[in-house]
Symmetry: C2
Subunit: 202 residues, 2 copies
């Protein structure tokens, strides 16, 4: 195929992770998502629990630093006293570049689009969806309580946007940062996977 | 094909119009761009010159009204004294809905994605490109003076964004508003056309 590394960024509930899995499966290439966290854990010597906890809190850290007036652009930060979240980002950055070198794969989330933005033979995709389609998915498939679903989608996406902004200084979901974006509410998971496969094959 | 109406919104210099032409040609369907203005002119009784002049100025009108404190959300405007630009928008709105009813086609620009947002069997696409790829196109293909090219791209896109915001209250180029967005600097014009054709065929 033309592009060997496919990164997928996605709104919560858009089915982007599932689309990534389908694409990897059909192309017969490796798939990375949570696995990246485990790999970072192994490299770091931190426990998996510690890493998962800190990854979840990374945007909280940024919001906290904003609130306390201590925000800094991560890209220019040269201080010695990095937060656990920032250390984790750097570990994941290293792990993502390592696995990109190993061969064709699909990577979901973890700012991989930004980390590999200069990577030859990579294509960066963003998956979004209508509110209705995301609500249906998080209730039916993720088992979120219907009365909490809308709030949970907002909370997760706010964190993802803040996390992305913190580490990339980019606006999450702006078309200009991705080679392709797809509406999974419109196309559905299977058709999105098929479009991506066709695209990397053309 | 699954989607009968394809709308294409595009950054200046992204080659979006050319991609739309290729798609229409290969699918054997009608293509509308400037033609829409002529159709609106015929319906309105205004001269073509008058219409072209006012279309170009439509975002200027909005900026002017902002500057003078007279801005109003177009969607909620019920006043009798509409500007020529707003009258033209309403004419184009009518013309776009008329041609959508006639059968499969590709429509470039003119807020057609918003006007046909509830239209069954329509797919809405946004084409963007890297600064380098757009500079190359406007200099080599549109004949813009190299020393003016960057400024001209900024000026045109600022107008398009303001025009779109004025008539739709949406942010131009935000992935969430389109079913698909493509980076023509990355894929190139021919591959973008091929991706769109494959997508409407899947």
């Amino acid at each position: 195929m033309s592009q060997k590394i496919i990164t997928i960024s996605r709104e919560y509930g858009s089915g982007g992770r599932l689309i990534g899995q389908r694409v990897a499966q059909k192309l017969g290439v490796a798939f990375y998502d949570k696995e990246l966290i485990r790999m970072a854990a192994r490299e770091s010597g931190y426990s998996l629990d510690f890493i998962e906890e800190n990854e979840e809190l990374s945007s909280g850290s940024f919001l906290y630093s904003l609130a306390t007036g201590g925000a800094y652009p991560f890209q220019n930060y040269t201080g010695d006293h990095m937060s656990p979240q920032d250390k984790l980002y750097i570990l994941q950055n290293k792990v993502i570049k390592d696995i990109a070198q190993r061969g064709p794969c699909v990577i979901v989330g973890r700012c991989a689009d930004y980390i590999l933005k200069e990577w030859k033979d990579s294509v960066h995709i963003f998956i979004h969806g209508s509110k209705e389609s995301k609500l249906k998915r998080v209730i039916d498939e993720y088992g979120i309580d219907p009365s909490d679903a809308e709030k949970e989608i907002r909370r997760k996406d706010k964190r993802r946007a803040a996390h992305y902004k913190h580490y990339t200084d980019r606006e999450w979901g702006q078309a200009g940062y991705y080679h392709m974006t797809l509406d999974s509410g419109f196309f559905g998971v299977e058709r999105c996977a098929e479009i991506i496969i066709q695209t990397v094959k053309i």
